[in-house]
Symmetry: C2
Subunit: 198 residues, 2 copies
């Protein structure tokens, strides 16, 4: 029988709470700014406990990024009902809102992934693949045949989406709703301009 | 009066030849693989001469990337005559051919620029700005009003172009002509889907 007080969190719960805190920090700071010291201070726990749960700072950062990527994938899930256009709009809006709220962290993930950090790259690629695969899975109106050309186009569209939202965050100039509409509106017209699959 | 033999190259000519060699090496190798030793061996000159011209390995790499970026901008200049669509197609074809021929170097430039190397980032951004500004300058048919929304869209289109050509190089699946047509075809349909400027 456990003699622990009822308020004591299980190891899994405590790890999960620390990770939540990491994700909140990640929203407003680059990965490079998230240190074990900062986390220990903010969470009011010992550095030793953090190393116990995550092994190293890189291990902690990787766990934070994985959690953030999972959040992104979950939040951008299109609704089950509605036209392809509506579901696309809802999904893109959730993506733009995510980047808007987690800009510093998202930017550092993109930068870290592209700078040759293999763990970050794997998580980044997994999230991108999930988001683009979903376009085909959720394409109830058969806007897109699944061909090498449409795969390439959707991949290009995801880069367009990322660039537009990061550029908008950096420079402004248009409203968030406009960014959402520009990105969501781009995919159907790109698909519509494709020659029919041979 | 100079007593140098007629065949001796001027300092500028020799520097320029070394740079040409660097650009040729850059096409088939990442920046990280281009060393002063490799260059000295390939060019048959002393390491000291290379340091004399370029100061450091970073100085040499930066000069090579700047030359490559200038080449890219020059090669992708649209022809003076023809419809906007034709000029766009010619320019995009030159871009795709450039990346096709200089894949390793181009990829390492993109990676280096995004990984926080400020000199490389400046050159990369300068090239991207030249390419996207040109869309507006060369837009004789007034496909695009120059507004914050169209600027954002053209920036997104340039990311789409880069992603599609790098993805095509990495995975294949479609022909080079198809990639050119997909990229060049994307801009007019994206522009056409924009709401009229208010």
């Amino acid at each position: 029988m456990s003699t622990a007080p009822r308020t004591r969190l299980s190891s899994d719960e405590r790890r999960s709470q620390l990770l939540d805190l990491g994700v909140r920090l990640f929203a407003k700071r680059s990965l490079a700014e998230i240190s074990i010291d900062l986390l220990a201070e903010t969470a009011g726990v010992s550095r030793g406990l953090l190393y116990h749960y995550f092994g190293s700072l890189a291990g902690f950062q990787e766990a934070v990024v994985r959690r953030a990527a999972d959040d992104l994938i979950a939040r951008t899930a299109p609704p089950a009902e509605g036209s392809t256009a509506t579901r696309l709009l809802v999904s893109v809006r959730a993506y733009v809102e995510f980047v808007d709220e987690s800009y510093e962290g998202y930017l550092s993930l993109v930068t870290g992934a592209r700078s040759g950090n293999e763990s970050l790259w794997a998580i980044y690629e997994e999230a991108r693949a999930a988001l683009t695969d979903r376009v085909f899975a959720a394409d109830a109106d058969h806007l897109l045949e699944d061909t090498p050309a449409t795969r390439l186009l959707v991949r290009g569209w995801s880069a367009l989406a990322e660039e537009m939202v990061l550029e908008w965050k950096a420079r402004g100039g248009v409203s968030r709703d406009q960014v959402v509409e520009l990105i969501a509106g781009a995919l159907p017209v790109l698909a519509g301009a494709l020659p029919p699959a041979g």
